[in-house]
Symmetry: C2
DNA sequence: CGAGACGCTTGACTTACATCAAGGCAGGTT
DNA sequence: AACCTGCCTTGATGTAAGTCAAGCGTCTCG
């Protein structure tokens, strides 16, 4: 059966029996998207949700002046746009591919039926939404209670942790990072320069080396500030 | 059985059979809280979730300087603190009673079992989390993409709509409203004064009268600004 | 090769909002 | 009545970060 292996590898579907995975494979729709292409706009009706098979997708909001705030960036294996499946039906935000991507689309009615039949699928989905909630709470906290340098420090530490090394490469463009951190490219550039000047990091292009991890942690927590 | 009627009236549990409501009533714990009292702190371990029976509760974050951001304010019938039930186990934020309140507490293990047995309970919970996600996305949008006057305008319109009249009373203290809108009491006070001066509203103490609904809507949408 | 286009950086300026400080007003207590 | 205390308002000042504008390296493509 088509895509069965790839579907089985999606964390959201972990713990499901072979039979249930086959049910999923029955309803899935495969979709190719080019970099820069819009997947949906906020306000569009949501007829199902997606899982990233390959590539990278951003979920974002725009204001009337054209300023953008990125809410999430999702990579392989991560589901997105589940909200309209369970509440209301329109998307609260827009989605666009940051790279050429392949998506699995699961139509709503069939998926809701599967959830009814399989409690472990429901619990997995509850866990996904709960983690998402946690992420968003943290974004609100960052935007409202921390300054831009603290947000950047937190992001750098997170990336370094994810990639498992004190030296790493930013995996998104700096302009996109600015939008994710809720600031402008100019401000991001200036803060990065200050972090270098004050010895917290080295930076060449997208390559970052963390020199003072505990200093960055203090910045990120908001207990210390740049001079 | 104790509390059965009140539990049956909670929207989260709508559509459940009598038998299932009785199961819930078996596991519920009743809890009285005084105004100002803390229910839990962020980082505490979450052993279950709550539903407000009466009173009012705020969910909030603090930064090291003591600045507060309110994430939600919940009233009768609304569940909160579900996140640690399904993902991780510690609370992402803190909770405090804004009024003397009565809470129903549902211990995690028993509740998770009920979810396994009753798919409609799972779907109800998914709907609750999805709506919560929508709310938080909207909060991020407000904080990052709108100015304080737009946030206040949106709040006033929402309250007016909720209470079903162009004249209404703020149901929380202005200081708390400032924290909910991500601003300071001083700034809130000034913006309110400007809204009055420019003829959008009348305001005496906590009493608000909306004079120019469409003007406020334009402010809230960010297409127009205060002069 | 030259010309764009794009992404990033840097400098000069502007601004929304926070902070600090003082005072007003209402409700409750002695 | 005098006096808190809590909440709100108003004024003066400070600042983080946005905006505008110019310039630079890199890559692509005619």
């Amino acid at each position: 059966m088509k895509f069965l292996n790839q579907i089985a590898a999606i964390p959201l579907f972990s713990g499901l029996a072979e039979r249930q995975l086959e049910d999923l494979a029955m309803i899935v729709v495969d979709q190719q998207i080019r970099r820069g292409q819009t997947i949906f706009h906020q306000g569009d009706e949501g007829t199902g949700f997606y899982v990233v098979a390959s590539g990278k997708v951003k979920i974002y909001k725009l204001n009337p002046d054209g300023k953008e705030q990125i809410l999430h960036i999702f990579g392989p294996g991560e589901p997105f746009a589940e909200v309209p499946v369970f509440a209301g039906q329109c998307f609260p935000a827009s989605a666009e591919a940051l790279e050429d991507s392949r998506l699995f689309f699961f139509p709503r009615p069939a998926f809701v039926n599967l959830i009814r039949l399989h409690p472990s699928l429901a619990l997995n989905m509850l866990a996904v939404l709960s983690r998402r909630l946690r992420q968003l709470v943290s974004l609100v906290e960052d935007l409202s209670l921390k300054e831009a340098p603290a947000r950047l420090a937190a992001y750098l530490l997170y990336q370094s942790h994810q990639q498992g090394a004190p030296v790493f490469e930013l995996d998104i463009l700096k302009g996109q990072l600015a939008s994710l951190l809720g600031t402008s490219p100019e401000t991001l550039s200036r803060i990065l320069a200050r972090l270098v000047r004050e010895g917290f990091i080295e930076s060449v292009g997208p390559r970052i080396r963390i020199l003072d991890k505990s200093g960055l942690q203090e910045l990120a927590a908001g207990v210390k500030r740049l001079s």
